[in-house]
Symmetry: C2
Subunit: 180 residues, 2 copies
Amino acid sequence: MALAHAIMTALIDDEMSGYELARSFDGSLGFFWQASHQQIYRELARLTERRWVRRRLVSQKGRPDKISYALSHSGRRALHRWVAEESRQAPSKDDLLIRLCNLDADNVLHLAAEIKRRREQTMQRLYLYEKIIRAHYPDPQRLPTRRRGVYLALRAAIVQAEQALQWCDEALALLSGAEA
Amino acid sequence: MALAHAIMTALIDDEMSGYELARSFDGSLGFFWQASHQQIYRELARLTERRWVRRRLVSQKGRPDKISYALSHSGRRALHRWVAEESRQAPSKDDLLIRLCNLDADNVLHLAAEIKRRREQTMQRLYLYEKIIRAHYPDPQRLPTRRRGVYLALRAAIVQAEQALQWCDEALALLSGAEA
DNA sequence: CTTTACATGTAACTCGTTACATGATTAA
DNA sequence: TTAATCATGTAACGAGTTACATGTAAAG
């Protein structure tokens, strides 16, 4: 039930609407967990039923009304209990690696192009991550405890992106060696 | 439909039973893609229906009979077409990072222990990967084309594991600094 | 007037997990 | 005789994707 707990984590400090949650899963929270707005609305309905979040209707001027969700006391307790559980290794699935296992003379150019594309996407993500680190996490040692955890999660995303970049270069070198 | 194509990839050279496929998804193929035996049997039923694989009953002495699956011609063509498609970035989901975003004085010891556990699991995987590289992929330049692709997929797994190790050390250093 | 951002959902489907279910053979 | 390995599945559920569906308001 990690999505439920990711949503509750997003609600620790501020209450948010489904739409705002979807935005934040597209942005910073999405570095660690992705979810579509459909998933979020469904999960919010379940969280409301369990009384882990509370709904509140907010009228807005110049915009449609929204439903704002806040973490309840029991939600906060449930989140704490969940954090204390064992975490499970996310089985990494990358269909590009399966495609690579089918490498042959016909598809080598296509696969090399795919790796180049992957490299560029990764570069862009990395640039964004580092901008956030510079702007909001300049001195990790002095961060308050919780933000220090968020910093480490961000660092995980960064180190992973750096690794991906390194692998792309290695792969492109070996593949272009094959063409020559 | 990556699972279907991962299964077909496993069947490129040899025909296999569902049980044998499940074994190979636990082992080497599982470095790139994981699947339970239930998923595999369900997918094999669908693949058979589409005529992308052919079933064959094999009687064995001293063991239960098995159903062996082989890639059909149309399956082979479908696999080739799929490899030429765009690949999609697997959204990496790691609930440990969500837990870390909830870091506080109560759970810092637990989370540090979880990271240590992650570190040890990663070390073991890395050791296994490198054993396989040494045994089967000593000189990547001279590998035939397809095996060169498999080598690169393995390298991706290795570089990712090395990155994970590096992050664990960084995280443990910052967390133990917090306790002191 | 058209597009973008705001705002909330439903329905149908596939993918992945957990639990259940059965039965043979082999090694301790 | 008990556990492990071989061998194949079903049922139910939860997670994730895709398509559909509706409507307001601001900005160009």
